[in-house]
């Protein structure tokens, strides 16, 4: 269970308040007008940005003061998810040990993860030689190996075309299902949200509202969301 307990975030004259709970294993979309603070919310959960007040808890454990790498989560950003100077296998291997001292067994797991995301035999390539979709798959393979119970997606597939994006979302759903992971995904596309996230957090008016059913929310959007969706 992920809890945001009376969290407030301030950044210059920007303010965001969140007091909500996400149950374990849920897949939740984060939707809201641009500038509402979707990425900021994820940054707070991931530990890149300290909240002005309140606490972030996972399974009742306080994460607020933990450094990003020690939190029980994996995060994918809009870009810069891979180190261009390391090979695909090394990038994935970082998910097992960040000092990359991998045992033969570890290497086997890396190969397996690559196979799972459809990149068998690509381990020695560099990210620069891969397509955008393939790069996303590498990052997902690493998420798989990190096996952290919480998965944060900050629009990592936004640069991909609709078909490829749908494919990636399905892969996310599959991986998360296999790991039993809780997923929190920023999106500005209602179709994406509907596709894999039964629940949605709406960000509007300086507040992160507790998750509601995605379909229901999109059927009856409150005024702020309606304006954003163009309805």
């Amino acid at each position: 269970m992920l809890q945001l307990e009376n969290v407030t975030v301030t950044q210059d004259d920007f303010r965001l308040a969140a007091d909500l709970t996400i149950r374990e294993g849920a897949r939740v979309a984060v939707i809201g007008p641009s500038g509402a603070g979707k990425s900021t919310l994820l940054s707070v959960i991931a530990g890149f940005y300290p909240p002005a007040s309140g606490r972030v808890l996972w399974q009742d454990r306080d994460l607020t003061d933990l450094p990003p790498g020690d939190r029980p989560l994996s995060i994918l950003f809009q870009d810069q998810n891979l180190f261009p100077h390391l090979t695909v296998a090394e990038n994935v291997g970082l998910g097992i040990r960040s000092d990359l001292r991998l045992s033969p067994e570890d290497r086997g797991r890396v190969a397996e993860a690559l196979e799972r995301v459809g990149l068998s035999g690509m381990g020695d390539r560099r990210p620069g030689t891969l397509s955008g979709g393939q790069q996303s798959r590498v990052a997902l393979a690493r998420v798989l190996l990190r096996a952290r119970p919480l998965m944060l997606l900050d629009e990592p597939f936004d640069a991909l075309g609709p078909a490829l994006r749908a494919e990636m979302l399905d892969l996310v759903a599959e991986i998360a299902g296999a790991m039993g992971a809780t997923v929190l995904m920023v999106s500005h596309n209602p179709a994406d949200a509907l596709r894999i996230a039964p629940e949605t957090i709406l960000l509007a008016d300086g507040r992160a509202h507790p998750p509601r059913g995605t379909a229901e929310l999109l059927e009856n959007p409150p005024p702020a969301l309606a304006a954003y969706l163009g309805k």
Partner: protein
């Protein structure tokens, strides 16, 4: 990471401070005071600042058209030309001056040509000679730094400019001038500081006592008057100017990483007109004439004798290579923590060696170390150490902006993966800094090869460095051997620079 890194950065900076400020303090302590500048000292200060400012201004002003031409033209040999450009900067001063005079001297090639047309010979001596030599030595540095700025303008920007139908004037206004405003002040200040401590160039080409620099006044105080207090006072004056200028430079901005991709081909649509072709060809041609002709003269004079050089010279060459490799390792060991640690105080400390008088450092170290160990037995470590510290400002210029870029691009990802400590250094920092590291290492190795430095007080009776051997050959009237030794020195400096610089580039994917 932060605490250990901060500790190491602080340690490195303290070490540099000990070598610059600490040695000065040792000299002052020994002298029992520092005195107050006299009329002649103020005159020396005026001339020093004047020539350094002029040299910095002209180096940068000449470098801009050359850098622009190199940024927007592709021609065979461009890569080698850019590498060769670095040569004057790493040559021992006496060799650079001799090369320069072979072209611009009284009986140099230029006056030979002018004479054939009945033109009166031009004299290169005086303030103009000092400035010419400083431009000769520092223009390459300026060109490389400014070229880097040009290449850092994203290719898309030029594409957009072309789509909007920008003429050269619009491009200058919207793309180039903002870049130059960011890059030029830092470069100018660096060159200003290099020229501030000029001694042999200023004296040899200065034409007389009008051209007295502070560094000469320090030399005079040490050797002529044996007046340590006055020497210390003058050295302090130099450091004050340095600190003030460095602080000013820090308020302006740092140039971008100059170790990064020189061959990134941004296509330019603005350079097709015949006039701009002509201008670029002229800029490159003149730079080649100014920089490469003197080098060619040095090579022509010395090459035939290289393989007849006495064994002792080859032994010195080996010894110098060993010293320079040690200096390179030390320089990187000092520069990396300072570059990664950042902070203004660290950066200004890193600039101090630029304005440090070699004579004061040597004397101060001698005073500090002699009670502990015999100076002759410390020759190697001290020479390597001082060479490393003297090269530090240039290493930092290369590393700091690049380190910032790495942090900006990848710190979040590394943090989210829990990549810290040595693993972060090994898998993120070092690979991403490979190019600037290679460049910094190459520059340090080459500068160390050519440095005569502080060896006098720490001379090892059994081994001489190559530059010292070169001086010995000249003192023994053996000018031909000396010319050959100069070619050997140049070749080795180059080879070291090239190896490190290349090493930083191979396999540096994306």
């Amino acid at each position: 990471m932060p605490s250990r890194l901060t500790l190491m950065a602080g340690g490195a900076a303290a070490f540099v401070a000990l070598l610059t400020l600490g040695t000065l303090a040792a000299v002052i302590a020994r002298a029992g005071g520092a005195g107050w500048p006299g009329v002649a000292d103020w005159a020396a200060l005026r001339f020093t600042v004047l020539q350094a400012a002029l040299s910095a201004f002209l180096s940068v002003a000449c470098a801009i058209p050359v850098a622009r031409a190199l940024a927007r033209r592709r021609f065979p040999g461009r890569g080698i030309f850019i590498t060769l450009l670095g040569a004057p900067f790493i040559l021992p001063v006496i060799v650079a001056v001799m090369g320069l005079l072979a072209i611009f001297g009284r009986s140099g090639a230029l006056n030979g040509i002018l004479g054939a047309f009945g033109v009166e010979p031009l004299s290169v001596y005086g303030l103009k000679g000092v400035v010419l030599a400083h431009v000769f030595i520092n223009l390459p540095l300026a060109v490389r730094l400014i070229l880097q700025g040009w290449l850092a303008i994203p290719a898309e920007r030029f594409r957009l400019a072309a789509a909007l139908g920008f003429g050269p004037r619009d491009i200058a206004r919207h793309l180039e001038r903002p870049m130059l405003r960011e890059v030029v002040p830092g470069i100018a200040v660096t060159i200003f500081l290099i020229c501030l401590t000029s001694f042999a160039v200023a004296l040899t080409l200065g034409g007389g006592p009008k051209a007295t620099t502070i560094e000469l006044a320090i030399f005079q105080a040490f050797r002529f008057d044996f007046d340590l207090g006055r020497a210390a006072m003058l050295a302090a004056m130099q450091l004050v100017i340095c600190a003030a200028t460095a602080a000013l430079a820090a308020r302006l901005s740092l140039p971008p990483a100059f170790g990064a991709g020189l061959d990134l081909a941004a296509q330019h649509w603005d350079a097709a007109s015949p006039l701009s072709r002509l201008a670029d060809a002229a800029a490159i041609g003149l730079a080649a004439l100014l920089l490469l002709a003197p080098l060619a003269a040095v090579i022509a004079a010395g090459l035939p004798g290289v393989f007849r050089l006495p064994l002792a010279v080859w032994q010195s060459a080996l010894w110098s290579v060993a010293v320079s490799l040690a200096a390179t390792a030390l320089a990187l060991l000092l520069a990396l923590p300072i570059a990664l640690g950042r902070g203004r105080v660290l950066e200004i400390t890193g600039m101090l060696p630029l304005a440090t008088s070699a004579l004061v450092v040597g004397t101060g170290l001698f005073l500090i170390l002699r009670p502990v160990a015999s100076p002759a037995s410390l020759a190697m470590p001290v020479t390597a150490l001082v060479n490393a510290v003297m090269a530090l400002p240039f290493c930092l210029r290369a590393l700091i902006p690049a380190a910032r870029q790495v942090e900006a691009d990848y710190a979040r990802l590394a943090d989210s993966l829990g990549l810290t400590g040595l693993a972060r250094l090994r898998y993120l920092t070092l690979p991403r800094l490979r190019r600037p590291l290679g460049f910094a290492a190459g520059l340090t190795a080459a500068m160390s090869m050519g440095d005569l430095g502080v060896v006098a007080l720490f001379a090892d009776p059994d081994r001489a460095t190559l530059p010292l051997q070169l001086y010995r050959l000249m003192s023994a009237y053996r000018m031909e051997d000396a010319a050959a030794a100069a070619v050997l020195l140049m070749a080795l400096s180059f080879a070291l620079f090239w190896l490190f610089d290349r090493g930083g580039r191979t396999d540096a994917a994306a």
